[in-house]
Amino acid sequence: MRPLFSDAYGRTFFYLLNALLGVVFLFPFYWTVITALKTPDHILDYPPGFIPNPATLENFYTVISRQDFRLWYFNSLVIALATVFLVLLVSSLAGYGFAKLNLRWRELLFFSILISLMIPHQSLLIPLFTILQTFGLINTREGLTLIYTTFSLPVSIFLLRNACESIPNDLVESARIDGCGDLRIWWNIILPLIKPSLATLAILTFLGSWNEFLVALIFTTTDEMKTVPVGLSVLLGVYGIHWENLTAVTVLSFIPVFVIFVFGQRFIVSGLTSGAIK
């Protein structure tokens, strides 16, 4: 179908319309950032100022100087990176296994992982709490990492199984005839060939872990084990109407996400849709 607004006037209209909508979509970000740059005595100005005058970075210093906030940031980073590592390791091994190796009950085993997509994980929080308690993993970074890893297995194994299946069998077989064991084939042949899928998966997993709230809220019980999203909800109570500080922490919580978005945009969009279309 010929796109809408494709003549010369239509084109101008197309860009104007998108400029207008773009402003609407980005406005909440703008508003958050300029609030974080205002001095405390201008926060409650009415009508509100659209440009911070005077502008200050003091709110950022205030929140960064909080030891608990730095700990939450550290926890979120460690958990997200550990989850990325575990997910890539576990699901590339399994993806190779399901795609290329001789497994009895292959489809049954695969299905036992894929079924997780049908079950709302929110309904498993209570038994998970009991299980983590048994293993002494309540209120630990390891506990959260293991849960995030498990919950992202169905999509990630599905993705990597597909990626591995597109590798020709001849390549794997000839390496085997040359005397390569399965582990060396996985490391030397499979992993280099599925790099784009691994990159997509790494980015999606990082974002998912960095942004997760409910699991972290329930399974962390002390202040020093919380993650950034849980910390944000805590600070909402602490700072009350000090929106200059609240918006400053919100902006800081975006930073890794936006860095990834700028550098990995094509992976994000392709990954989110391929993860969804099963």
Partner: protein, 298 residues
């Protein structure tokens, strides 16, 4: 000595050959068993017990289910969550399909334009909710200031119109995701179909109704499924934006399960509620998958 060694080695090798495939899938299977399959079974087990955080856990049969069905907040939460889902889904999909139609073209800057609509998707729901709490602030919030520019009175957004406020925020947050899904679906429709239709004299509107909509149906159903389930299970934004209030007005099923289990520490009753939630959503996603799988002919 030599012969026994020779006989032993191949058997040893054969064993490795046979076992090694299972070692590759084992970490995944193991994690899945401990943190997914086991909880799936345990949720039923726990729901049949009185299960406090500490102390004895007596078997109580179906008592938790009975008390769940007599819990008026739970029932209200169920109907509220359903109402919210029914309202928010079209609120996301009408703009999503319009945006997808608008952006389904190759022009200068198109990837930047698409990225702009996608930006809210990648941030956390907690951060988005905080941003909008500030926008909705009833005294000095920018939303009320914009209303006043239109000559309208100030509104207590989250207090008086919590459902509307949440829906506006959620549309902003998630429309980009549905738009990208629909866009992928549209781009997989062969261009020849449109060319042939144009030659046969079909106008733009007819092409949309007869080609785009029917062929987009599987993608559309998929995007709706994801959105419906996501809306039903939504937690973060209720927790941060409304806290389930005023009173219990915006308490959703997951929020109430959270409060029952982890604030009142009635884990058994929370498990019974979880079983209801699980059963309900499995039925819904089963129905929707059947709908997606239905063949289309063209």
């Amino acid at each position: 000595m030599q012969t026994t060694r020779r006989a032993y080695l191949p058997a040893h090798r054969a064993l490795i050959r046979a076992v090694s495939p299972y070692l590759f899938v084992m970490p995944a299977i193991l994690l899945n068993c401990v943190f997914f399959l086991l909880p799936c079974l345990m949720v039923f087990w726990i729901s049949l017990h009185e299960w406090p955080l500490l102390g004895p856990r007596p078997f109580v049969g179906l008592k938790n289910y009975v008390s769940t069905l007599n819990d008026h907040v739970f029932l209200q939460a169920f109907s509220f969550t359903t109402r919210y889902t029914l309202l928010v889904t079209p609120s996301i999909f009408v703009p999503a399909i319009l945006l997808a139609l608008l952006l389904n073209r190759r022009v200068t800057g198109i990837s930047i334009i698409r990225a702009i609509y996608f930006t809210p998707v990648i941030i956390s729901f907690v951060a988005a909710s905080l941003m909008w709490r500030w926008i909705y602030n009833d005294l000095v919030g920018i939303a009320n200031y914009l209303l006043s520019l239109l000559g309208l009175p100030k509104v207590n957004w989250l207090g008086e119109y919590p459902l509307l406020s949440v829906i506006i925020m959620i549309v902003w947050k998630t429309v980009g995701y549905s738009m990208v899904l629909l866009l992928t679906g549209m781009q997989s429709i062969p261009a020849e179909l449109y060319e042939a239709a144009a030659i046969d004299g079909a106008g733009r509107w007819i092409q949309f109704l007869r080609i785009t909509l029917p062929l987009l149906r599987p993608t559309f159903a998929l995007a709706v499924t994801i959105s419906v389930i996501g809306s039903y299970l939504g937690f973060d934004f209720w927790y941060v934006l409304t806290g389930g209030g005023p009173e219990y007005d915006t308490t959703t099923v997951v929020l109430w399960i959270y409060r029952t289990a982890f604030q009142f520490f009635l884990l058994g009753k929370g498990a019974a509620m979880s079983v209801f939630l699980l059963a309900f959503l499995v039925v819904i996603s089963y129905l929707q998958i059947r709908f997606i799988r239905t063949r289309i002919e063209y």
